[in-house]
């Protein structure tokens, strides 16, 4: 073996030091997490607004890795009102998935830890609100799958290949006694009903099939049926259509929309497709490098985007009808999550920097009652009364389709 260079020795020493620090951290946080019989007073809280299903306040989720602490979610605050859909948009690695995993408390342990913040869930069934960062693991198991359920990105890997669809659907009732279905025959009946609800034809046959016998779209329907089987208050959909084709995506989005109005559930929709967000969401949160840079209603975000990152995202969508020869692209790439700068994380890629950008990370500025942004440039615009130019995002196909519709009539 070759002799280690000075550089390597230094690096190894540094890793060792970090590992030691991490071990201490794991111990501290894991002990807190593994506590049993936590008295209810400790995790019982009050919602700030009783109409909200979920309130996340100042959430910090860290990954204690060997190269340093990664602050994947860094002070995120947002609410999800009952019956509404919240879209979370951002590039990969911006912390949108980690936010959802934190809510479900299924982070990769022991590296991933919620280090600070509150996640308040309004459980209608019990008429109480709980802080999910403080509840015991056993209590979390009850909540997970019955009050909150999740739809993952890859329907191919979400389902277990060695069990039939039916068995996997029945599991929800097997583990959640509070749903009040315990007889096998009743479970089967209910599961088949759920399959029918998500538009699967010939549900009794699908019930006894294995996942590999179904197509991608069908599998995603099964996953949705699974998520719905407990009538949850909140459905977290993590890129539910990214792995699917456009035509199948249209089917699934249509299904989700119909089911939402039927069940009066809230949806937290995580995606990087702005088209999907515009279509599905009522409220939008834009994330960048672990922080929220802009939040507001869909119309706020799409008609009056204020943060340069949001504007950049919208401009970089390919569209031939804009007549421009070159697509707009945001220069550079996301900063290293281990060594985040002290100033605005987007500064090095931003073309609208003002003097204040060189200092502290910007605070959330209120633009309207619903629209907030973390940017000095937007703040100055607001103070000087400058309206930001609207990004025209009319779809290229809009006119064509309207013309076709008329033709058909």
């Amino acid at each position: 073996m070759a002799k280690k260079t000075q550089k390597e020795i230094e690096r190894n020493a540094k890793i060792k030091q970090i590992k030691k620090y991490n071990l201490g951290k794991y111990k501290e946080l894991q002990i807190k997490k593994k506590r049993k019989n936590i008295p209810e007073e400790e995790y019982l809280t009050k919602m700030h607004n009783p109409d909200n299903v979920l309130e996340i306040e100042n959430l910090h989720t860290c990954f204690y890795s060997d190269v340093g602490t990664v602050r994947a979610v860094d002070g995120v605050t947002f609410d999800i009102p009952r019956g509404k859909t919240l879209g979370v948009v951002g590039e990969s690695g911006c912390g949108k998935s980690v936010t959802s995993l934190s809510v479900m408390r299924i982070l990769q342990e022991p590296q991933g830890q919620i280090s600070q913040g509150e996640i308040r869930l309004n459980v209608k069934r019990q008429g109480k609100a709980f802080d999910l960062t403080k509840v015991s693991q056993k209590f979390m198991e009850e909540i997970r799958g019955s009050d909150i359920s999740m739809i993952f990105q890859e329907p191919m890997t979400t389902l277990n290949p060695v069990f039939t669809i039916g068995k996997q659907l029945d599991e929800v009732y097997l583990y959640h006694n509070e749903l009040g279905i315990s007889k096998p025959a009743a479970m089967k009946k209910k599961s088949i009903e759920n399959l029918e609800k998500v538009g699967i034809a010939n549900a009794p046959r699908v019930y006894s099939m294995y996942p590999h016998e179904l197509s991608g779209g069908m599998r995603q329907r099964v996953v949705i049926a699974m998520a719905l089987s407990s009538n949850p208050e909140l459905i977290i959909a993590d890129e539910p259509t990214t792995a699917l084709d456009v035509t199948i995506q249209a089917q699934i989005l249509d299904l989700l929309r119909n089911l939402k109005s039927e069940l009066n559930a809230s949806i937290m929709l995580i995606t990087h497709d702005l088209g999907v967000v515009a279509e599905m969401a009522d409220l939008v949160v834009v994330m960048y490098a672990g922080r929220i840079v802009e939040k507001g209603t869909v119309r706020d975000i799409f008609h009056h985007p204020a943060h340069p990152y949001t504007i950049g995202l919208m401009k970089s969508r390919p569209s031939a009808m804009t007549g421009e020869n070159k697509l707009f692209s945001i220069p550079g790439s996301v900063p290293n999550p281990v060594e985040l700068p002290d100033h605005c994380y987007f500064r090095s890629r931003c073309d609208k920097c003002v003097a204040a950008c060189a200092y502290e990370y910007p605070q959330m500025t209120k633009l309207t009652d619903t629209h907030y942004v973390a940017c000095y440039w937007a703040k100055e615009n607001k103070e000087n009364g400058i309206e930001i130019e609207e990004v025209k995002l009319k779809s290229d196909f809009e006119d064509v389709l309207q013309a076709k519709e008329k033709e058909m009539k």
């Binding site: 279509e279 070159k326 790439s333």
Partner: protein, 329 residues
Amino acid sequence: MAEETKETPVLKVVDLKKYFPIKQGVAQKTVGYVKAVDGVSFEINKGKTYGLVGESGCGKTTIGRTLLRLTPPTGGHSFYKGQDIFALSKKDLRVLRPKLQMIFQDPYSSLDPRMNVGEIVGEAVREHNIVPQSEYKQYVLKIMKDCNLKSYHIDRYPHEFSGGQRQRICIARALALNPDLIVADEPVSALDVSVQAQVINLMKELQDKRGLSYLFISHDLSVVEYISDYVGVMYLGSLVEMAKKEELFKHPLHPYSIALLSAVPVPNPDYEMHRIILEGDIPSPANPPKGCKFHTRCSKAMKICSEVAPEYRDIGGGHMVACHLYNEK
């Protein structure tokens, strides 16, 4: 396309077929065929981009692989500047290889993790003796610069790069051989929107500079619309419609093309949806429906559709379509 036929197209595909046998039993007897590509014809001229769209499983990728002879074809011809690729001997094919390159979908799995960027980009250059040994390193650096990669990247390994950078390495690798045609198989599907724009811009820029031709395979209609000159829509192994980009996106004719267009989410919250939602899934290519393959999901299916397969023909101005709706016109 009448005025363009004088020039020999860079690539001409005639009646391309690729069947995969289904084997069963102990003796591995062939019991049927999956007709992945069934009689596809098109051509690409110099400096143009041909976009190929369709759902997954419709045979887009198989076309790309077969016409470069990465998998042996079942039938048909593929001409590179008048030379039949399928009839070449192994030795001749090797000479031709540098001219036809491919960019794969997933930049994470298509780069060897144990080779650094210099080796990845330069390996084939050395194999094919594109430049003399003395200019080798200079050449690799020049190609990397063309693809917006920094010169100090040359000693780095793929895992040190982000998705967009990796895709640029893949483009550099293809470009290093000075190709005429690049088959790009979903090159931006695995990337984020902002990075997607960087890669597409690069591809367009290189096309203008070097007069490259692309066969651009994708399921994302907005990307295809942006980059292509001609667009072909595929369904279950065959082309159902082909036209110039402007024509296809402004006046789509085939019900499948219309449904595809209407399925694209519109980034405007005020837009009222009148979506044509296709029912069900794409049928199995091992057992395609009789007559028109699309009739099982078509909203305008007539009696004739389930009996006779429509002819793929020109209905004027180079707009090809295979549908009974446009028979009389």
